[in-house]
């Protein structure tokens, strides 16, 4: 449940943005969460609702954009899709495999007023 810490960090980023921009209320929060980022979207939603209670983001809709996992396979000389951290290429069985996408954990957009 490190999603609780992540939700707290997310609220801090939102509050920093509110200080810089002067908005009064957050309507929607759009997050990018990679498939390999060790984050459970449902746990993130639960913790987000708990953490933003009483803040400028209370009641905001949380939209999670899932980023698929991908890795560079040296033997294939190609980017291959991966659903989890593994060392061997799902296509050719070779390695090394270097993850290239899916580790994102980012606040992309706020809809505010």
């Amino acid at each position: 449940m490190h999603e609780l810490s992540l939700a707290e960090n997310l609220l801090e980023i939102i509050e920093d943005a509110a200080r810089a921009d002067g908005f009064q209320r957050v309507r929607k929060v759009i997050l990018e969460i990679g498939q390999l980022a060790v984050v459970e979207p449902e746990a993130m939603r639960f913790c987000f609702d708990a953490v933003v209670h009483g803040s400028i983001a209370e009641g905001a809709q949380l939209e999670i954009v899932a980023v698929p996992g991908s890795a560079w396979c040296a033997p294939c000389a190609a980017t291959v899709p991966i659903a989890e951290i593994i060392a061997v290429c799902p296509r050719c069985g070779g390695y090394p495999l270097q993850p290239t996408g899916g580790k994102e954990l980012k606040l992309r957009t706020l809809e505010v007023e």
């Binding site: 939700a7 980023i13 060790v38 803040s55 954990l105 606040l107």
Partner: protein, 288 residues
């Protein structure tokens, strides 16, 4: 955690003292701001405007949620490199024998290497007390509801340890094979401890941790004659998620294999001093 404003985690303590006398955060400019929360919580956060009267607009933020932790971790890493301290983040599931392994390691290094320990647990100072009984310096961080240590807590604990140059700092993370993988503490590397009373499939079930670690210690090997545990299979599974992971078989209880672990530590310390002497900042960059 303060559910009213979301600041800090009010139940986090370091050696029993509240860890948040002040609130810290990283601003949009990347600078760490520290301030005391002087305003009352609750009503002060309420807003008087009528909802729905202002037009909604979209703001592109594009900020990493772990940026704050990563800024503290980078700070810690610079401090460790400057002081020539080898910091190791010890991770495992609960009950793998981390604390016993540390006690035996400290006993073996006594009088030869300066070292200190940061203990992370949700509650109690039992582990720090076990470490202090060996004569080594230890700070206990209680994470309360938190399931992992973070870089800021480690930074707050460091002044209590006064580490000399060429010292070893063992950071014993909260027993959990999931959450600590996501939080960089500024360590040189993660060492994952797996005991033979767990399953051979642990590296496949928790691939993130085994992929983030440089060394795996297979502990409690003295129990192998009594178990069906397949050592070759666990090694194969660990290498499936991390082909370059180093693996040592040890028993903290019997002492078997401990010399190889002590040699590994000595090698890492020596590499660190060479890197420091060369002023080579990149030498100890961890693989995350």
């Amino acid at each position: 955690m303060c559910l009213t404003c979301g600041c800090g985690e009010g139940d986090v303590t370091i050696d029993g003292q509240t860890a948040d006398p002040e609130h810290q955060h990283v601003g949009a400019d990347g600078i760490v701001y520290r301030h005391v929360h002087a305003h009352p919580h609750g009503a002060a956060h309420a807003h008087s405007h009528a909802p729905g009267t202002s037009p909604t607009r979209s703001l592109q933020i594009e900020r990493d949620i772990l940026a704050r932790n990563d800024a503290f971790a980078a700070d810690n890493r610079r401090a460790f490199e400057r002081q020539g301290v080898l910091a190791l983040n010890l991770v495992s599931s609960p009950g793998s024998g981390k604390t016993t392994l540390l006690v035996r390691t400290i006993e073996a290094l006594q009088g030869k290497t300066s070292l200190a320990v940061i203990e992370g647990d949700q509650q109690t100072s039992l582990d720090a007390e076990r470490i202090r009984a060996t004569g080594a310096a230890a700070v206990q961080i209680n994470t309360g509801k938190g399931c992992h240590l973070d870089a800021q807590r480690v930074q707050q604990a460091l002044p209590k340890l006064a580490l000399p140059p060429n010292a070893l700092l063992f950071i014993e993370n909260v027993g959990n094979l999931v959450c600590p993988a996501a939080f960089d503490l500024g360590e040189a590397c993660k060492v994952v401890i797996l005991s033979v009373t767990e399953g051979e499939d642990k590296p496949l079930k928790y691939p993130d941790m085994f992929s983030a670690a440089r060394l795996m210690l297979l502990n409690k090997c003295d129990l192998l004659p009594h178990l069906d545990f397949d050592v070759a299979r666990v090694i194969e599974n660990a290498r499936r998620v991390n082909p370059t992971i180093e693996i040592l078989q040890v028993s903290a209880r019997s002492g078997a294999g401990m010399q190889a672990w002590l040699d590994w530590l000595a090698g890492e310390l020596a590499a660190l001093s060479v890197g420091c002497a060369r002023g080579d900042d990149a030498v100890r960059r961890p693989q995350l």
